[in-house]
């Protein structure tokens, strides 16, 4: 696997469209459409795109929280999508997820201690005493005082709740964590604390992240490589520095130019895209982006471009390159 922790091949997720009284399936939404990429050991792969582009679905599909309709996810030479449920459950210890909304991802009726205790005793077979010790350790790791262990989620602020969610993900010493918009719901000052925490944990425990976010400045800060998605396809993938300085795909260029520069005077040429993302139920023919692309030609409407290497380690899917 030469340094790859996960290899994702032709991953495809479809959701049925149901209509009528009998709820017959009349079609499918291709949320994720045959995408392939690798995640290297100890790296942070950023996954960006606008709402509805399939980035969250991709993250969930890797952990089988959505059922992918085709494709494979290789983890340690085993296809996660093919192994049986109970085997997968054992495997899931190593693969965790942190959700966007710390208000809805924690059980409101469980104390922090109960929440972590469940994970530790059921999944890892800790005894009660061992678990109690580990809970203290975990809380300190994520920057919370162990005296909070007996409190309920509603007694914490948003940032503290996200720390609890991180503690829960860390409890099993995972190798891989999907961060699905993990800092998006937080105020900037709290957001920076959580970003620092995630980066510290990566250094200490060699965790690999798939960092899903629409906030490009955050992704730029935290990621080693970045993949850009548009309507269920990866349109560009490159090292962070390369992507942010030499974006090849017109969509990436537009996306980057839409991000405001944070300074008092610099103004940048902005590419303002026309229109909005077409729904995943009405995917345009040819290149999916041609309806909004400022450089589209006739060819773009007819043939779908393949993701190919345009520079060393830099992949993009566009006819114009």
């Amino acid at each position: 696997m030469d340094g790859n922790l996960l290899e994702i091949k032709d991953l495809e997720v479809q959701f049925p469209i149901k209509k009528g009284i009998l709820q017959r399936t009349v079609g499918h939404i291709h949320a994720v459409d045959k995408i392939s990429f690798n995640i290297k050991e100890c790296e942070t792969l950023g996954l960006v795109g606008e709402s509805g582009c399939g980035k969250t679905t991709t993250g969930r599909a890797i952990l089988r929280l959505n059922d992918p309709s085709a494709g494979s996810v290789y983890y340690k030479n085993e296809d996660l999508l093919k192994i049986g449920r109970s085997d997968f459950r054992d495997m899931r210890k190593n693969l965790q997820i942190i959700f966007q909304d710390p208000y809805s991802s924690l059980n409101p009726r469980q104390t922090v201690k109960g929440l972590l205790n469940e994970v530790l005793t059921v999944k890892c077979g800790y005894s009660k005493a061992e678990a109690a010790e580990r809970i203290n350790e975990l809380l300190i790791q994520v920057g919370l005082s162990p005296v909070y262990a007996n409190r309920y989620p509603h007694e914490f602020s948003g940032g503290q709740r996200q720390r609890i969610a991180i503690a829960r993900a860390l409890a099993l010493m995972p190798e891989f964590i999907v961060c699905d918009e993990a800092v998006s719901a937080l105020d900037v000052s709290i957001q920076s604390q959580i970003i620092n925490l995630l980066m510290d944990l990566k250094d200490t425990y060699k965790v690999t992240y798939l960092f899903i976010s629409h906030a490009l400045n955050v992704v730029q800060h935290i990621s080693d490589r970045v993949a850009v998605m548009y309507l269920g396809k990866i349109v560009e993938l490159a090292e962070t520095e390369e992507l942010f300085s030499h974006a090849a795909h017109p969509y990436t260029q537009a996306l980057l130019s839409a991000v405001p520069i944070l300074s008092g005077h610099e103004k940048r040429e902005r590419i303002i895209l026309k229109g909005e993302v077409p729904g995943a139920a009405h995917i345009p023919s040819g290149c999916r982006f041609h309806t909004r692309c400022p450089m589209a030609t006739k060819e773009c409407a007819e043939h779908e471009p393949e993701l190919r290497e345009v520079a060393s380690g830099h992949m993009a899917a566009c006819h114009r390159l």
């Binding site: 606008e50 709402s51 602020s157 940032g159 105020d187 900037v188 000052s189 957001q191 920076s192 604390q193 970003i195 620092n196 980066m199 629409h214 490009l216 400045n217 955050v218 730029q220 800060h221 935290i222 962070t240 520095e241 537009a254 996306l255 130019s257 839409a258 991000v259 405001p260 520069i261 944070l262 300074s263 008092g264 005077h265 902005r270 303002i272 895209l273 229109g275 909005e276 993302v277």
Partner: protein
């Protein structure tokens, strides 16, 4: 006359009287906005920025008490306005757009009815046909494709970006002098966000309208604002031109806020600044400087003395230790 201020606010206080005590959401806020300019009011959640704007148009909960030395809007002193008089400010002088367009549009009425209602209120002399025509014109102006079709749909049939455009259309229908934009782009994707910012700037130029932009997103601030007021715990702690605030923030809070955002001053993968602790409880503010419990530069004096606003070179700062953090 050199500068014409559309709005001038002095010492605005909005207190909520609750059974548990008095919540001082806005506690002595002063600012003014020139004609055709944009002021951004920036701060973390719960700092009182939205309550400040709602105080101007009197859309507050009944428990709120507003007092001020001056709230002059478009040349009229409005601080002692009654409820009925205050209704006159809304729409004609000030319009507002909100963060979540889905919750601020009425889901059971079509766009046509909601937009025409606003036009009819402010231009009752127009005939039915003229009202409809004007509605179409406004929709075209805010960049809605196929307005004849879109005017007949319900809000849920529109995408987020189009809904925000409809909101803007309704807000503009009355030709306001001041537009309050409360987190206008927070719920939108970046490419749509760029479209909406561009649209607001165009319309502002065309109508010579002033904008009070309320946001926690410094990116949007840098795109739109002429001046910036940074709010913390019910008070404005720093005020100045956008360039001054970004290039050389004087208040430690402003500085930490800017340094905590990835991609500005901190290099990739480096440590971001953080602000420890949380915004203080508005029922029980700390004595002295309200920021001292979280301020890395605080000293014993900050705990006792409340900093007074200092005005130097056209900008205001409220800090006893101004300039300490950057070695001056």
């Amino acid at each position: 006359m050199a500068k014409e201020n559309i709005i001038e606010v002095q010492n605005l206080k909005t207190y909520f009287h609750t059974p548990e005590g008095i919540v001082k959401s806005v506690d002595g806020v002063s600012f003014s906005i020139e004609k055709g300019k944009t002021m951004a009011l920036v701060g973390e959640s719960g700092c009182g920025k939205t309550q400040t704007s709602l105080s101007l148009i009197r859309l507050l909960a009944p428990t709120a008490k507003v007092s001020a030395d001056k709230i002059e809007i478009n040349g009229k002193e409005t601080k002692d306005y009654t409820k009925d008089q205050a209704r006159g400010i809304r729409g004609k002088d000030i319009s507002m757009i909100f963060q979540e367009p889905m919750t601020s549009l009425n889901p059971v009425y079509r766009v046509k009815r909601q937009l025409e209602e606003m036009i009819r209120l402010h231009q009752p002399e127009l005939s039915k046909q003229d009202t409809y025509q004007r509605a179409l014109n406004i929709l075209t102006r805010v960049g809605i494709p196929e307005p004849q079709e879109r005017i007949r749909v319900f809000p849920h049939q529109l995408s987020g970006g189009l809904r925000q455009r409809v909101m803007i259309a309704i807000a503009l229908a009355s030709n306001p002098r001041l537009l309050i934009a409360d987190e206008p782009t927070t719920a939108l994707d970046v490419t749509i966000q760029a479209q909406i910012i561009e649209l607001l700037k165009e319309i502002q130029k065309e109508m010579e309208m002033s904008i009070l932009l309320i946001t926690h997103d410094f990116g949007v601030v840098s795109q739109m604002a002429d001046t910036v007021s940074v709010m913390y715990a019910g008070k404005i702690v720093e005020q100045g031109s956008m360039k001054d605030i970004f290039e050389d923030p004087w208040h430690p809070y402003t500085r930490l806020l800017i340094m905590s955002i990835p991609g500005i001053k901190v290099k990739r993968g480096g440590r971001l600044e953080t602000i420890e602790g949380a915004v203080p409880n508005p029922m029980n503010f700390p004595p002295g400087c309200r920021f001292y419990p979280r301020c890395p530069y605080a000293e014993e004096r900050c705990m006792r003395e409340e900093p007074v606003p200092e005005v130097i070179g056209g900008r205001m700062v409220r800090c006893l230790k101004r300039g300490v953090h950057d070695g001056r």
